[in-house]
């Protein structure tokens, strides 16, 4: 028997099994069992996903803990009078489900980076920092600073409570959509690298 024929026969057997009605299990068992299994799998998937969406998870690797997390700590998003704190995923992972899955899938490349030690030392990190920062700037620019706006809603801003400079900028360039948050607020949570003139 040729290999091709064998393969065809096998796959047709599988298809036959899948397409024939169940011989042993009742319809009730299959529907209710399927429903329960669905809850368990979906719930498990979501729980695991949310576990990777915590500050504790991000800072469990030294690359994050010793570089960017340290820099976050003195900033207003971490240390402030009102006790509201933005943790890593608040700014780096979209909150909407589809966007979140897209970002998480994209972030699987970071596992590759971890395995091969792309930024495993401070020096490597500093060398790569501009590129990494530019990825984040591009992402925030493209989604109109979505992660900023999850908390900082433009419609809820009271300009009269802002400083004159802030009021001036927010009521013009931000209001008419010419600029988005990240255009002016780069380096708000982490130290900035040496950005070459003209680079964005």
């Amino acid at each position: 028997m040729s290999l091709k024929k064998k393969f065809t026969e096998h796959s047709s057997n599988y298809w036959k099994t899948l397409s024939t009605p169940s011989k042993f299990f009742s319809l009730g068992f299959l529907t209710i069992g399927g429903f329960v299994a669905g809850i368990i799998f979906w719930g498990g998937f979501h729980t695991a996903l949310e576990l990777t969406n915590t500050e504790a998870f991000c800072t469990s690797c030294h690359e994050m803990r010793d570089n960017v997390f340290v820099e976050l700590q003195p900033t207003i998003h971490y240390t402030n009078r009102s006790g509201v704190r933005a943790t890593c995923p608040d700014c780096h992972v979209p909150h909407n489900w589809s966007d979140k899955i897209a970002r998480k899938t994209q972030a699987s490349k970071e596992i590759w980076g971890k395995l091969f030690g792309t930024i495993s030392t401070r020096e490597k990190f500093l060398d790569k920092r501009l590129e990494l920062a530019q990825h984040e700037w591009a992402r925030l620019k493209a989604n109109n600073s979505l992660e900023c706006r999850n908390c900082h809603n433009f419609a809820s801003m009271d300009f009269t409570r802002q400083s004159k400079r802030a009021m001036q900028m927010h009521s013009t360039s931000l209001a008419n959509g010419e600029k988005t948050c990240i255009d002016c607020h780069k380096g708000i949570a982490h130290r900035l690298p040496d950005v070459p003139a003209g680079a964005t």
């Binding site: 400083s163 400079r165 900035l192």
Partner: protein, 157 residues
């Protein structure tokens, strides 16, 4: 007599030794540490608010580096990045409408005019400082040079 002298010396010595001891208990008056005893940590004063009214302040003399009339907390000024220049820099003032950094800052130490801020003028807060909202503990007797060289007004009784 000798006995009394010895007694006096003893008492005097103890008194002299005891004096700083009582000071230590009550705390030394020190401008930086406050009145905390040497073995204890002083309670730091409340952190004052940084002036943020965006109004240019009068200079006390012509060559004074202007003070910063806004808050600059966590502004990054290091070898990688100068946050001040993202508004006060040559190519940023059109967008920001902030006063441009003085052209004297473009002259490097060899007297060349550069197109950007000279390294020797890079660290802004060496001369330009923000103002804190505090009551000064010691009154300032500094007199401005404005009016210097002008005929003095006769005080009228």
């Amino acid at each position: 007599m000798k006995f009394f002298l010895a007694l006096f010396l003893m008492v005097w010595t103890v008194g002299v030794w005891a004096q700083p001891e009582s000071d230590l208990q009550g705390g030394l008056q020190n401008g930086l540490r406050g009145s905390a005893a040497l073995g204890t940590e002083a309670v730091p004063p409340l952190m004052p608010k940084m002036n943020n009214d965006d109004l240019r302040k009068k200079r006390a003399y012509a060559m004074q580096a202007p003070v910063i009339p806004h808050q600059i907390e966590n502004y990054q000024v290091d070898k990688n990045f100068n946050k001040c220049m993202s508004c006060h820099g040559l190519d940023r003032v059109a967008d920001s409408q902030a006063p441009m950094v003085s052209v004297t800052h473009f002259i490097d130490r060899d007297a060349n005019f550069r197109n950007e801020i000279s390294p020797r003028r890079y660290f802004c807060t060496q001369c330009h400082v923000p103002q804190m909202d505090v009551v000064v503990p010691v009154a300032n007797l500094f007199k401005s040079t404005s009016g210097m060289g002008m005929p003095q007004k006769k005080s009228t009784k």
